[in-house]
């Protein structure tokens, strides 16, 4: 093979040609990508919003993305300059991003937020929940008005399990505790380590499942595992449309382990102008649990895009 090489290898023209060709081949798709993605923001700048821009974040499940879209579109309608940072991750991640200023507005649930900030708190009223949060919240952050809409974590058993242990809509989590050593419990990875999770189920209701299967945040893995009886009970959001569809039974939580889960905007104090605060409070005033169930059904069952669903609801509620 070297005999082919000898005549050409040292020609400087060839080498320069080679260098140019390498550069061109590598750069071509990149240049193409830059031009084709024009119109969308520079992805490298995604984590450093410009001053004055409100960043609306959301957690990695559809309802959070949907409410984030509602907040964002409501702010836009009032002339607030926003960018979206949707579908980020879990609270553990998003709370950090609010603190460091890379997110300005985030849809939250007051009880779950409190459980994150203070795992030992056991408030018995919604107001107590709000003041307990205020005491623990990072000084740079504040909660706006909570909406009447609630979406709780819940202990839900599938139809087969409900039949086996005679559990009905009136049964409580304590009724399941007796059968703890027979059931596999499913939920998100983080549920294992949260007070509003396995820890609380044990300390409040004495429920210790035989085993735990880490699935997702009340998402498709959990829904499917519960439906197929791979797990007998699971943490599923109370607004999940699967519960009714699959005749699952949500157990009552009389000791309020899962607290008061009103939808509430968590915002940075300095990042959001007053007209933005007003816009979000107006949204909260109209967002009920029934409205949330309807909107979730449009996204989950009718497969509509959350942004379109958010815009339609704001229009019908007279907020945009």
């Amino acid at each position: 093979m070297n005999s082919h090489v000898k005549n050409t290898w040292s020609s400087p023209r060839n080498i320069r040609l080679a260098a140019v060709a390498i550069a061109a081949v590598t750069a071509a798709p990149l240049l193409a990508s830059c031009s084709s993605s024009s119109g969308s923001k520079d992805p490298l700048a995604a984590s450093k919003p410009k001053a004055g821009t409100v960043v609306v974040g959301s957690n990695n499940f559809p309802e959070s993305i949907l409410i984030g879209d509602i907040y964002g579109e409501a702010l836009k309608a009032k002339g607030v300059n926003i960018t979206y940072k949707p579908n980020i991750g879990t609270r553990e991640t998003t709370y950090g991003m609010l603190k460091n200023g890379s997110v300005t507005v985030l849809p939250e649930y007051n009880g779950a937020l409190l459980a994150y900030l203070d795992p030992k708190a056991t408030p018995t009223t919604a107001d107590a929940t709000a003041s307990a949060i205020a005491a623990k919240l990072d000084p740079k952050l504040t909660l706006l008005d909570p909406a009447p809409a609630e979406d709780k974590d819940s202990v839900t058993v599938n139809a087969a399990t409900a039949a086996k242990y005679h559990l009905t809509a009136d049964s409580t989590i304590a009724d399941l505790a007796k059968y703890g050593n027979e059931i596999t419990f499913g939920g998100s990875p983080e549920f294992q380590k949260r007070q509003q999770g396995l820890l609380g189920l044990k300390s409040v209701y004495g429920l210790t499942p035989k085993s735990y299967k880490a699935l997702d945040v009340g998402g498709p893995l959990t829904e499917a595992a519960l439906k197929n009886n791979n797990v007998q009970a699971a943490d599923i959001f109370s607004t999940d449309t699967t519960i009714a569809q699959e005749k699952m039974v949500t157990l009552k939580d009389p000791k309020n382990l899962f607290g008061f889960e009103n939808v509430v905007p968590l915002v940075s104090k300095t990042g959001l102008p007053q007209n933005g605060v007003d816009a979000l409070n107006a949204v909260s005033a109209k967002l009920t649990t029934q409205a949330l169930l309807d909107l979730n059904a449009q996204v989950q069952n009718d497969k509509k895009d959350p942004l379109a669903v958010a815009q339609a609801w704001l229009k019908s509620a007279g907020l945009a």
Partner: protein, 223 residues
């Protein structure tokens, strides 16, 4: 908050040493996924690679197949298999891992046989050895170090990639990383990463040992 602190937190936590979420159990799961995937990939890749390498046919088809297998995104394939095959059980995780491992095994085996010095092969043929004898008694022993290298390369990628199995609620060391991300427990993430990397390095060690045991001393000296 540095890496060593994280590691200390992780490894000194007694809860991380026993039970279903303990390191020994997760290690067994991780080894199980990796070993099964590697065995399946080897069962596909070795015979084909030996055959095409020996006959010198199918080089293009093989190279196209390897490119295709490499092009399949492991994580995407994992999610796709999950929705096609159902959520639980190890099969959805096996398919991307096997796809990942098959290309290096196939290509290296083919190349290893092709690159055997033609002189002894000719001599063997001249002595009247049959084609299978030439392959198994001459080409294979000489090509063995390279073939083992391909297997090792595949094994390391599989061990490292088996981490994503945790995304579909399977076990293995990936559990620490996925759960650590979800609950923002960085000591678990770093601990998990170190365990995976450690296992990958241990795999290199195992292949080195296997190489010492099965490669003919004559071939070894020649290298």
């Amino acid at each position: 908050m540095n890496i060593l602190n994280f590691l200390n937190t992780f490894f000194s936590d007694g809860a991380n040493w026993h039970g279903a979420n303990g390191i020994p159990h997760r290690l067994l799961e991780h080894i199980q996924y990796s070993a099964v995937a590697l065995a399946i990939a080897a069962a596909i890749g070795l015979p084909i690679g030996l055959f095409t390498g020996h006959t010198g046919r199918g080089g293009y088809a093989l190279s196209a197949f390897a490119t295709g297998a490499r092009a399949l995104p492991s994580f995407g394939l994992l999610v796709l298999m999950t929705i096609w095959l159902g959520q639980l059980g190890t099969t959805p995780a096996m398919i991307p891992l096997v796809a990942l491992a098959v290309a290096p095994i196939l290509v290296t085996t083919h190349e290893a046989i092709r690159s055997v010095d033609p002189a002894p092969v000719d001599a063997a043929r001249g002595m009247g050895m049959t084609s299978p004898s030439v392959l198994f008694q001459v080409e294979l022993p000489v090509a063995l170090p390279l073939i083992l290298g391909g297997l090792r390369s595949a094994a390391i990628q599989v061990v490292s990639t088996a981490t994503i199995a945790a995304y579909i609620s399977l076990g293995g060391f990936g559990r620490y990383i996925i759960d650590g991300l979800a609950s923002h427990t960085y000591s678990d993430v770093v601990g998990g990463a170190v365990l995976v990397a450690g296992l990958a390095l241990a795999t290199i060690g195992v292949f080195w040992l296997v190489g010492r045991l099965v490669v003919s001393p004559g071939v070894r000296r020649g290298r």
